[in-house]
């Protein structure tokens, strides 16, 4: 079973990476959360019944772990750099990626969960089922998040 688990997690570790980066500010904390998520996935793996996609299951455990592992907030997100022009093509993917995660970390924890699922192309129905809120409310919340991100992208202080 361990072999299957490790292959599966190895294949989908980007999900864990993205959740860790979205929920923690420093690389050390992100690495700790990554490890915590892998640990919780391993403990939950025997109970995985293939009723949902493996990626959905990983997302559910990863987001729950990120939110359940309470810690006092350390320094807030540093807001010093100028945003890259998002209309530009990819020459600086890492810079755009950096901006994306910085922007996501300015959102509340629940908003981060919703937007990550949306960005991952989950439908409103799936997001509602994963988060436990109604489809309509998912729409309302995502609209608010869109507005926030839009404001952030035009402001010069992120």
């Amino acid at each position: 079973m361990e072999k299957i688990f490790l292959e599966t997690i190895g294949e989908h570790q980007r999900i864990i990476y993205k959740v860790s980066r979205m929920y923690r500010n420093t690389p050390e904390d992100q690495q700790d959360l990554f490890q915590e998520i892998v640990y919780q996935l391993w403990r939950a793996f025997p109970g995985f019944r293939h009723e949902s996609k493996i990626t959905t299951w990983i997302y559910r455990i990863a987001l729950n772990t990120a939110m359940a592992s309470y810690r006092k907030q350390k320094s807030p997100v540093s807001i010093t750099e100028h945003p890259p022009d998002l209309a530009e093509p990819i020459q600086a993917v890492s810079e755009r990626e950096e901006w994306l995660f910085r922007a996501l970390r300015t959102l509340s924890e629940s908003e981060r969960a919703l937007i990550s699922l949306y960005l991952e192309d989950y439908s409103y129905t799936e997001i509602a089922s994963l988060t436990g809120i109604s489809e309509n409310y998912v729409g309302v919340k995502l609209n608010r998040i869109r507005e926030k991100l839009k404001t952030l992208s035009t402001s010069s202080n992120l």
């Binding site: 190895g10 919780q40 359940a68 309470y70 994306l100 629940s110």
Partner: protein
């Protein structure tokens, strides 16, 4: 900016940077960032309390105190150890099943129970320890001052412990309300 422009960045983000061997190590408690540290702390506390259980009768004149006082101290030490074990078990198994909202509600409820158990066990342990140590003591002014200082110190510890639990529970209630 259209939010959908961010989707491609999101899909590109991350890398497969950990080997299967590294991932395997992450599944072990001994490599866990916080559980390993807590397990060591827990073991030290259990060793110290067990030593107290074995030594108090001879070392602290248990034979000269009534049976009920001895039994109360033993019970409170066992309760304190049990509280540690329950707390450790919960940290190892947080509520991560079900949807996010359900998990948050469950986590807040569990934390509330843990907070009550933790405070009760601490109060019981401190109170019975004080009772045991001061039983049959003839008090003078100096001893009253020492006893008062100890009681104030314990009360402050309980207060800060309660505040810390309250903060944790409030965090989950806030998250739940935020959804």
């Amino acid at each position: 900016m259209n939010i959908d422009d961010l989707k491609s960045d999101w899909h590109r983000a991350g890398k497969e940077s950990h080997s299967e061997q590294e991932l395997a190590m992450m599944t072990r408690v001994r490599n866990h960032p916080s559980l390993r540290r807590l397990r060591i702390k827990f073991m030290i506390e259990i060793a110290a309390l067990t030593a107290l259980l074995f030594l108090f009768y001879d070392g602290l004149d248990g034979a000269e105190k009534p049976l009920i006082v001895n039994m109360m101290l033993i019970s409170s030490i066992i309760l304190y150890i049990l509280n540690n074990a329950v707390g450790y078990y919960h940290l190892q198994n947080p509520s991560v099943s079900g949807n996010i909202r359900e998990a948050l509600v469950k986590e807040a409820q569990t934390l509330k129970k843990l907070a009550v158990l933790s405070l009760l066990s601490s109060i019981a342990y401190s109170a019975t320890l004080l009772l045991f140590l001061t039983y049959q003591i003839v008090f003078n002014q100096r001893k009253y001052i020492i006893l008062s200082a100890l009681i104030i110190a314990f009360l402050l510890l309980f207060y800060y412990s309660w505040i810390s639990w309250k903060r944790k529970i409030a965090h989950f209630r806030r998250l739940e309300a935020d959804f």
